[in-house]
């Protein structure tokens, strides 16, 4: 019965894109952990995602493992590589850390993803959908379930002692350190959590496409994740999920719009695969310079109201964070 619904062209297309919401939502939350909670930025997330995707595909295709084991393995490998990279590079923070992750991403892209035995080289690696979830719609629900799990874990984690320590570290690493929070260990922890989420997201993406090709995991992809996180609004889970959903669907709707007759004469119509990377940076720059809180800031009044608070547009804290000079996030090593 679900299959029947999925066969209607409009809905099917929407679902195919919608799957991506679940997977990408997890990925973007992963970046949110890092950027939002520790103030560190990863520009090499394509490596994290790619490693998750290839691990899962490798486990299923080469070793014949079940889907759950493969996804678990992708998360473990994702966490491990984050741990390794973090141990080596988290002695530098801020701009320099961003630089190291950028170099790491490029290295993975040019080196790791070209190891024939693991990734199938340029031919790619098949990654079939799991048993019982072979239709787009069912797989979509599976992804949503995973996304819900990630949101829940993220929410619970931030309520632990470690989570509170992370918030303290973000506000001011030096003050946090004087209160006994081990800044380095907590930042590393956040990095590993980000790695685990990214591994999961990569695995989900891989099985959605049923085929993993290395060319998917490039620098543009890493930047689009950063853009989604920032536009969604740092540290606002709902905002971040809305941001990733928007980017998963914007290409689809733009395509519908242009094929539905919108055509500017003399201007080449933007193909839908380019929509996120053309509109994304524009929105990013607009967000950064005009609405630093992103979507999260816009929906905050509603969230407050839902929790029983007053509905008001006055925003106190978050708008200041991206703009404000209160944070010491660019301390040189």
């Amino acid at each position: 019965m679900n299959g029947e619904r999925a066969e209607r062209p409009g809905v099917a297309g929407l679902v195919a894109r919608g799957v991506v919401i679940g997977a990408i939502g997890a990925l973007v939350l992963s970046l949110n952990v890092l950027l939002g909670y520790t103030g560190q930025i990863s520009l090499g997330h394509q490596a994290f995602v790619g490693i998750g995707a290839f691990t899962s595909a490798y486990m299923v295709t080469v070793h014949g493992q079940p889907f759950v084991a493969a996804v678990g393995m992708a998360m473990v490998v994702g966490g491990l590589q984050a741990l390794l990279l973090g141990v080596v590079s988290l002695r530098v923070t801020g701009l320099y850390f961003a630089l190291v992750t950028l170099a790491y991403g490029t290295m993975a892209e040019e080196s790791l993803f070209n190891i024939q035995a693991l990734t199938g080289g340029s031919a790619g690696q098949p990654a079939p959908k799991p048993m019982g979830f072979t239709t787009d719609l069912r797989y979509y629900y599976l992804c949503l379930a995973f996304l819900a799990a990630v949101v829940w874990v993220d929410w619970r984690l931030m309520k632990t002692k470690g989570g509170r320590a992370l918030l303290a570290v973000r506000e001011n690493p030096r003050v946090a350190a004087t209160f006994g929070a081990n800044v380095k260990v907590y930042t590393l922890m956040a990095f590993v959590v980000a790695g685990v989420f990214a591994g999961l997201g990569g695995a989900l993406l891989a099985h959605n496409d049923t085929f993993v090709v290395r060319d998917l995991f490039n620098f543009q992809l890493a930047l689009v994740f950063v853009i989604m996180t920032v536009i969604g609004g740092l540290r606002n889970r709902t905002g971040v999920v809305i941001g990733s959903a928007f980017f998963s669907l914007v290409g689809y709707f733009f395509d519908k719009l242009t094929s539905g007759g919108l055509n500017v004469p003399g201007l080449k119509v933007l193909p839908k695969e380019y929509v996120p990377i053309v509109i994304g940076p524009l929105l990013l720059l607009f967000t950064l310079t005009r609405h630093p809180g992103g979507v999260g800031q816009q929906i905050r009044p509603v969230q407050r109201w839902l929790r029983g608070g007053r509905f008001s547009f006055k925003d106190t804290h978050d708008a200041a964070i991206l703009r404000g000079g209160e944070r010491v996030s660019d301390v040189r090593a």
Binding site: L95, V100, A103, L288, S329
Partner: protein, 295 residues
């Protein structure tokens, strides 16, 4: 056989590295004046090359004015970035600025992808005869020699600019001690625009000199080819020394070229980028103030 191969790699490394150094110069200039890691630096250069290509090969403007138009495009893009993105975010944390410049870079890449249809374009060499000249027993194409000559000339001009002209000295002053420079009656704001323009110009030249060495260019080619090596070069120079950045570029170029050609690394895909990553992490862990910078 191996020895001559290594020597060949060395010479090629120096030439590619000088290109990295040129990009790195712009990075250091901007970092010193605005405190920004400018991820759009590579794109300034790519835009220059694309403009040159459009104007020269499509419209048929002769080479010299076309080069000037290409460089003007790079400078214009750099100035626009400074005015539209950097200035409004002047008080924002540095990481936010980094994200913003990365956004500019992605925007440029995607526009190139969209308008240029993701194709690689091949470049006709400025010297049509592909002669190989022997330098120290190494065969080098004269195209590369031309690039090297241009780079050396540019390095000398830059050195003269920074040591002899008032403007150059003012820039050095701003980058070392902005408050004192302001007190001396120099407008730091106005110099900031000038520095971004200069960085754009350097990136444009770097792009135009790198493209013929690589032989082709596609969307974002200077970003993908040179941005990370150039950052590594700048870090090698301590992020604050202009000669250090240029020398760092040559070091990175040589290391990368040796890694690619060394027999020990055969069969490792992407040995060059592994080398750059290792170099970057090693410098940041062992000597975070760079090889020449002061601690």
């Amino acid at each position: 056989m191996v020895a001559s191969g290594q020597k060949q790699a060395l010479v090629i490394g120096v030439i590619t590295g000088a290109g990295y150094g040129l990009v790195a110069l712009g990075l250091v200039l901007i970092y010193k004046s605005s405190g920004v890691f400018n991820f759009a630096q590579g794109e300034f250069g790519t835009v220059a090359v694309y403009t040159l290509y459009r104007v020269h090969d499509r419209i048929g403007v002769p080479l010299v004015p076309a080069v000037a138009i290409g460089l003007a495009a790079a400078v214009a893009m750099a100035l626009a970035t400074e005015r539209v993105v950097i200035r409004p975010l002047f008080d924002a944390p540095r990481v936010t600025l980094l994200v913003a410049t990365a956004g500019v870079s992605l925007l440029a890449i995607s526009l190139e992808l969209w308008l240029g249809e993701a194709r690689l374009r091949f470049i006709q060499p400025a010297l049509s005869r592909l002669d190989r000249v022997s330098v120290f027993g190494v065969q080098v194409s004269d195209q590369r020699l031309l690039v090297l000559a241009a780079l050396v000339m540019l390095a000398v001009l830059l050195a003269l600019f920074f040591s002899r002209t008032n403007l150059g000295l003012a820039i050095l002053g701003v980058s070392q001690e902005p408050v004192a420079t302001e007190l001396m009656g120099i407008s730091v704001r106005r110099l900031s625009s000038f520095i971004w323009g200069l960085a754009g110009l350097l990136a444009g030249i770097a792009g135009m000199l790198t493209a013929p060495v690589v032989g082709s260019f596609g969307p974002g080619f200077l970003t993908f080819n040179s941005l990370i090596p150039a950052f590594t070069a700048a870090v090698l120079g301590g992020m604050n020394s202009l000669p250090g950045a240029f020398v760092g570029g040559v070091v990175v170029g040589v290391a990368q070229s040796l890694a690619v050609s060394a027999p020990a690394f055969h069969g490792i895909p992407g040995a060059g980028s592994v080398m750059v990553f290792v170099l970057l992490v090693a410098v940041l862990t062992v000597r975070p103030h760079g090889l020449m910078g002061k601690a």
